[in-house]
């Protein structure tokens, strides 16, 4: 059974992102579990890639740290398997298409099922290019998460209509990273989405404060936080576990 829907059941979802292998893969399971303890409803696990074109400097640096420690896709699968022994939290991979392509779509999806992942977010695979992966993902009961951007406009309905799992609503132009001033009219983007689908919509890119989470909880089904989490790991390194719990608990209003 795919676990993604449970993240949105009768609640607003808090989605936390972490780059696997940063600063060392042996720390990643604990970091994930601390985020879950802090109230994260879904975890996005970044499989590091050499050239993450949708990421700002904070997550770029995390990719460099993970790769320089030799983190591989196979090791990330094993790591998720370890998390699965202790938690049923929905997990989706966030990575770039070449990581899947080179691994082999079929084999990649097999390993997702085996380790207990529920789907993937691939920022360089737009709607038009999904066909080469979508049937394979579906056959494995994995969700290929669709992204909608501030520039999507008339594409919103087309994308939303076929979206599954949840919809990743990109709050801002540009790359990932903390922002204090998000100007996009996310409310009307969500309205467009609602007109054609019940698939939950979560807002990401730039979110780093509890106030922002509260704002988006009013109009959307969840919030996605990445760079702010990764920055804590950059600052505290191997000892970031407790700090991650504190931050996520604060963001989810658990404290």
């Amino acid at each position: 059974m795919n676990r993604i829907a449970s993240a949105f059941q009768n609640k607003k979802a808090f989605i936390g992102f972490i780059t696997a292998g940063d600063p060392d893969l042996s720390r990643t399971p604990e970091f994930i579990l601390q985020m879950v303890r802090g109230g994260a409803d879904l975890i996005e696990v970044g499989i590091p890639f050499s050239d993450p074109i949708a990421e700002g400097p904070v997550i770029q640096d995390a990719n460099v740290r993970a790769l320089s420690k030799g983190c591989t896709t196979d090791q990330v699968f094993d790591m998720v398997k370890e998390v699965r022994r202790q938690s049923d939290v929905p997990i989706v991979f966030m990575t770039y298409l070449n990581v899947l392509f080179k691994y082999g779509y079929e084999k990649f999806c097999d390993r997702c099922v085996e380790c207990g992942a529920d789907g993937m977010i691939i920022p360089d695979m737009p709607y038009e290019e999904r066909e080469e992966l979508l049937p394979i993902a579906r056959a494995h009961d994995l969700r290929l998460i669709s992204m909608i951007a501030p520039t999507s406009k008339e594409r919103i309905r087309m994308i939303a209509k076929e979206a599954e799992g949840f919809i990743y609503v990109v709050s801002s132009m540009g790359v990932t990273g903390m922002r204090n001033d998000i100007k996009t009219d996310i409310g009307s983007m969500i309205e467009e989405i609602r007109a054609v689908t019940d698939t939950p919509a979560a807002v990401g890119f730039g979110i780093h404060t509890r106030a922002q989470v509260e704002e988006y909880e009013k109009i959307a089904d969840g919030s996605i936080v990445g760079s702010a989490i990764v920055r804590i790991i950059a600052e505290y390194g191997e000892n970031a576990g407790e700090k991650l719990y504190d931050y996520v608990a604060e963001m989810t209003g658990k404290r």
């Binding site: 890639f49 050499s50 074109i53 070449n98 392509f101 132009m173 540009g174």
Partner: protein, 394 residues
């Protein structure tokens, strides 16, 4: 299968944020490429500003010295700004202007494309920002100042390997950040559709001229047409109008760096495998997990881990042949053509000259080679001197 395919290669593997812009670009290009006014305006700039048509030069000394095929050079080095890059920049900037854009951004490796973009931006009164790997800003310092002189802002890119691929990454990031008034002047036949087609079309003037020129001069088609290949824009331009002439052999010369059996190479066809990167499916230098490899070449312009999708297709169907050329061979050729013909060719183009030196002696005297001299080598003089152990700095 999505749009913009060359066999299995090509496509539009880009963030959703850019999709509408890419679709708009395709629509604008489809409209303006057949618009008589646009075509005439571009033609006028090509002739009066870029200096087209470029010469097809018979290299008599090299022909005699190498003792085989008759050698012709297509002199793109004589274009304004010193390389073939101006062909594409004029076309794209004019298109961008028609689309209402006021700002151009571009990546650059050796600086040739950056200089050409900055030049055209100055000419057309547009804002210009260039992204260049930090390492490249150091080895091509003169071109950095040249771009600044032309009114462009140059951003040294420190991420990753601090070379051309990272400059492309940063340029794509900047484009997703500010797309409404900005056009990304992609410099090679790569990236998401429609760029590989647009750039190839604007560069195809090279082979359109060369084909007519050789028929005029020799009354027959050449036996070999060759060019250096990084992303592959001068090669695609040089090949395009000969692709249907099945008897013409097409050869692309890749940068092998220290050699294809080392990890200090940028020869994508020789050492790469199929992948998806920078918006396209094609061949890339990468490891078993799809991590893009840090590539190396003495030539900043060929120091790229991928190749344009149409080249990947020409390789797949066997229509074009791709051969690796090492740093050493390219530097030898750089010096050889200077002494033989009095032409200081770019170190990029010298990769093609190096392979020409291998094949010309084995060919008959009634056979013809056309080699594209994609750029001039003034920018490389100091680096070549250092390669030869002379401490010369610009």
């Amino acid at each position: 299968m999505s749009k913009g395919r060359f066999g299995i290669h090509g496509g539009q593997y880009i963030p959703e944020t850019l999709m509408n812009e890419i679709i708009k670009l395709e629509e604008a290009y489809d409209h303006y490429k057949n618009d008589p006014e646009f075509v005439a305006e571009l033609q006028r700039l090509m002739e009066t500003y870029a200096g087209r048509p470029s010469l097809l030069y018979y290299a008599e000394n090299m022909t005699r010295d190498l003792g085989g095929a008759k050698i012709y050079f297509k002199r793109e080095d004589l274009n304004h700004t010193g390389s073939h890059k101006i062909n594409n920049c004029l076309g794209q900037a004019l298109l961008a202007k028609k689309m209402g854009k006021t700002r151009l951004i571009a990546e650059t490796g050796a600086g040739q494309h950056g200089v050409a973009t900055a030049t055209v931006a100055a000419l057309l009164g547009m804002e210009c920002e260039i992204f260049m790997g930090k390492l490249d800003t150091e080895r091509q310092a003169l071109n950095v100042y040249r771009m600044e002189l032309l009114g462009a802002k140059v951003h040294p890119v420190e991420s990753g390997t601090a070379t051309l691929k990272d400059a492309v990454n940063e340029c794509m990031r900047e484009w997703t950040n500010r797309v409404a008034d900005t056009h990304y002047v992609l410099g090679s036949v790569m990236g998401p559709h429609p760029f590989p087609t647009i750039v190839r079309d604007f560069q195809s003037v090279i082979s359109r001229e060369a084909r007519a020129q050789i028929l005029e001069l020799e009354g027959k088609l050449p036996d070999v047409v060759m060019a250096c290949v990084g992303g592959g824009s001068n090669a695609m331009g040089m090949f395009y109008n000969f692709v249907e002439d099945k008897e013409v052999q097409l050869i692309g010369c890749e940068a092998a760096g220290r050699g294809v059996d080392t990890d200090r190479t940028a020869a994508t066809i020789a050492t790469g495998s199929e992948g998806v990167f920078h918006g396209m499916k094609s061949y890339f230098c990468q490891n078993e997990y799809g991590q893009i490899a840090p590539v190396y070449s003495i030539s900043a312009g060929l120091d790229y881990p991928g190749i344009g999708p149409e080249h990947a297709y020409l390789h797949d169907i066997g229509r074009a042949q791709y051969v690796p050329v090492t740093d050493d061979e390219a530097v030898d050729a750089f010096e050889y053509i200077a002494r033989q013909e009095g032409i200081v060719a770019a170190i990029e183009s010298s990769h093609a000259v190096a392979h020409l030196m291998k094949i010309a002696p084995k060919m008959r005297k009634d056979q013809i080679i056309i080699c594209c001299l994609s750029g001039r080598g003034d920018k490389d003089v100091a680096a070549i001197a250092r390669y030869r152990g002379k401490e010369l700095y610009e």
